[in-house]
């Protein structure tokens, strides 16, 4: 109910709506940004960027398809990743982050990657709930092993062990698809 009022206020460009939104969701946005961007200035710029995008695109948000939190999380995560990629490209004399997908792919390569991603998500779907959550924290939200451990009540070693087993299982399930990608 409170979210609905806030969305309505943003859509109708009411005074103070953005401040209220920032108070309510600023910490969540920071939480999603923090593991992806190391630099504090980058984080602040990304936060501003996300708030601007929310202001611009709140009209496209459909409460029937996702909650505001979900929508905002994806928006934030993508904005942070884009900034990280841009930083990598700008880095003078440095190579691209290995974790970042190569944006210079041809159509065939893009198709292959899309196929691999579909296979990967199908395999992730078959994981148990806890393993799936662990996978998402690591590969979708870019959280460090230490953060995952602290928030999950596990040791770093235990998290590393679990992630190793998840990788092993996914590697086995993906088989030739992953080999083709590499």
């Amino acid at each position: 109910m409170e979210d609905a009022r806030l969305i309505q206020a943003l859509r109708t460009r009411q005074d103070g709506a953005m401040e209220r939104f920032q108070t309510a969701y600023g910490p969540l946005i920071r939480y999603v940004i923090a593991p992806i961007l190391d630099d504090e200035r980058d984080r602040e710029e990304c936060l501003s960027d996300v708030l601007l995008r929310v202001w611009d695109s709140i009209g496209t948000f459909d409460p029937g398809r996702a909650t505001l939190t979900t929508w905002l999380t994806h928006l934030t995560r993508n904005a942070a990743l884009n900034r990280r990629r841009a930083n990598e490209r700008r880095r003078e004399g440095g190579g691209l982050d290995e974790a970042m997908p190569d944006t210079g792919d041809g159509p065939e390569q893009s198709l292959l990657k899309a196929e691999t991603a579909r296979a990967m998500w199908a395999a992730v779907e078959r994981l148990g709930r806890r393993d799936r959550e662990l996978f998402l924290r690591k590969y979708y939200y870019y959280q460090s092993t230490g953060q995952i451990a602290a928030e999950s009540g596990l040791t770093v070693r235990a998290v590393e062990g679990k992630l190793y087993r998840i990788r092993k299982r996914l590697r086995s399930e993906l088989g030739g698809v992953s080999n083709g990608w590499i």
Binding site: G26, A66, T67, T70, K113, E125, F135, A149, V156, L170
Partner: protein, 489 residues
């Protein structure tokens, strides 16, 4: 990072539609969930299959595990975490103490009783409960202030009424326990409010994802599962092993033992009155001298030694001998003779005797029993062990005398107990009637939890399957010489 890691990162970029509704991980959900479950399990009391120990133990560690990751957020959480640690240590100490005689010793040391609306309880138990519960209240109070702190830091209005309410309610529960108010009319609504508050606290975790989580990840020495396992293991080890170390009471034997014989004329006089010869033969001079001036005798339960009695129980013979004395004119010497056959005396771990002067009116006074055990070891050496009787009241408020002991392990032949006490007339010119109950408690299992002395079982008047009790009642009379008639009563 290898090629497969690159694939996983790259693949995660293309989130499939079925996962588009995925909620972000809420770092608050797990800690707050653990805290709520912890508080719930601590408060639930199910006196069944050891759940009264297991559930609070699990609850204690869940509360601690829930506060552990929050301790870096602010000072209040750090305080709550420290309180949860102290609370866990106090609870464990309480559980372990109850497996040993220390708990009873501390209660005895403090001594006093606390009077509540439903009766009196040892002050030690009250102080222990208040201390433990106060630490819990402080932990919940710390949680409340910690949650307020993170909300304020995030520039949001604190919605921590549930945590505050819980802290206040937990403090109120201490007061209710001190007053001793019980009954569903009072406890029911309090529990209802308590459940609402815990549920409210749990729901709070869902809104807390907006206040952020500036957790500084730190390596944790043990995972939550391992901590829970270790904690429960420590409880099980303590409860399983500690009682075995205290399964027997110390046998304070003395040797050389006693010298039967002595006063031949008195012996002959007692035999003439009908004193059982086998019992008389084992009495020393000091014991025999109690019967100086005997002018009558009544015995009950005397047999030839081959009678059947309950497993682990002694056979009982009671002898009443009125004797002349200078102070009162006369008094009665009572002797309860207990005999554990060799097969029985080696099989028990703890024994207890309760002597209850019963139906006495105002004309009889009783002395504290003076008792001794006698036996021979496998080498044929005789031993004695004095039994220390203490005066106390049972749970019904009746004054009685209790003794706790363990029978010796190395024996040949029976172990015999001699309990002497005296009944003195307040009005020597009248004939008074009296009753005595001698109750014997016997524990055959080495393990028991909580640690219970036989006198506790005897005072309570009820016991579990590990215990056996046997009661012997007899009646007699206080009558001056010439009026004493052992057949009449």
């Amino acid at each position: 990072m290898d090629g497969f890691d690159r694939l996983l990162y790259a693949g995660s970029d293309r989130l499939p539609p079925e996962l588009a509704g995925l909620r972000p991980p809420c770092p608050w959900r797990k800690p707050i969930g653990l805290i709520c479950w912890g508080l719930a399990l601590i408060t639930i009391t199910l006196d069944l299959l050891g759940l009264d120990i297991i559930l609070p133990a699990v609850g204690t560690v869940l509360l601690w595990l829930g506060l552990r990751p929050l301790r870096r957020e602010n000072g209040a959480f750090r305080f709550a975490y420290a309180c949860a640690t102290v609370y866990a240590v106090l609870r464990l100490a309480g559980v372990l103490l109850q497996a040993t005689p220390m708990d009873g010793c501390l209660a005895e040391l403090i001594g006093r009783e606390w009077v509540t609306a439903t009766g009196s309880v040892p002050l030690y138990h009250v102080l222990r409960t208040v201390l433990v519960q106060t630490v819990l209240v402080l932990a919940v109070g710390g949680l409340w202030q910690g949650l307020k702190g993170v909300s304020i830091r995030a520039g949001q209005e604190p919605r921590t009424a549930a945590a505050g309410g819980l802290a206040i309610l937990e403090a109120l529960l201490i007061l209710l326990a001190l007053i001793g108010l019980e009954g569903w009319l009072l406890v029911g609504p309090v529990m209802l409010v308590w459940i609402c508050l815990v549920v409210g606290l749990y729901k709070l975790s869902k809104s807390l994802d907006r206040v952020g989580y500036a957790l500084r990840p730190a390596p944790m020495p043990v995972s939550s599962g391992l901590a829970l396992g270790l904690w429960l293991g420590l409880h099980l080890l303590g409860i399983g092993v500690l009682p075995l170390l205290f399964s027997r009471l110390p046998v304070k034997s003395q040797t050389p033992a006693y010298a039967p014989g002595g006063d031949a004329p008195l012996r002959a006089e007692l035999l003439e009155l009908g004193f059982p010869e086998d019992i008389l033969d084992d009495l020393g001079d000091r014991e025999l001298s109690r019967f100086q001036g005997a002018y009558g005798l009544k015995k009950e339960g005397y047999h030839d030694g081959g009678g059947a009695h309950l497993d682990g129980m002694p056979s009982v013979v009671t002898i009443e001998v009125p004797v002349r004395d200078e102070r009162y004119g006369f008094h009665v010497v009572c002797l309860a003779y207990l005999r554990w056959d060799s097969g029985e005396s080696s099989g028990g771990f703890m024994e207890g005797i309760q002597v209850v002067p019963d139906l006495q009116g105002v004309t009889v006074r009783t002395t504290c029993p003076d008792a001794v055990l006698k036996w021979q070891d496998s080498a044929g050496i005789s031993y004695i062990m004095p039994l220390d009787f203490r005066s106390d009241t049972d749970d019904a408020g009746t004054s009685c005398y209790f003794a706790d002991f363990s029978l010796p392990e190395d024996i040949s032949g029976p172990v015999e107990g001699y309990l002497f006490w005296e009944a003195m007339p307040s009005l020597p010119e009248t004939v008074s009637i009296y009753n005595y109950h001698v109750t014997i408690a016997h524990r055959r299992s080495a393990w028991q939890y909580p640690y219970t002395l036989p006198s506790d079982v005897l005072a309570a008047g009820s016991h579990g399957p590990d215990w056996r009790t046997y009661q012997w009642a007899f009646e007699g009379q206080l009558a001056p010489e010439g009026k004493y008639d052992p057949v009449k009563y």
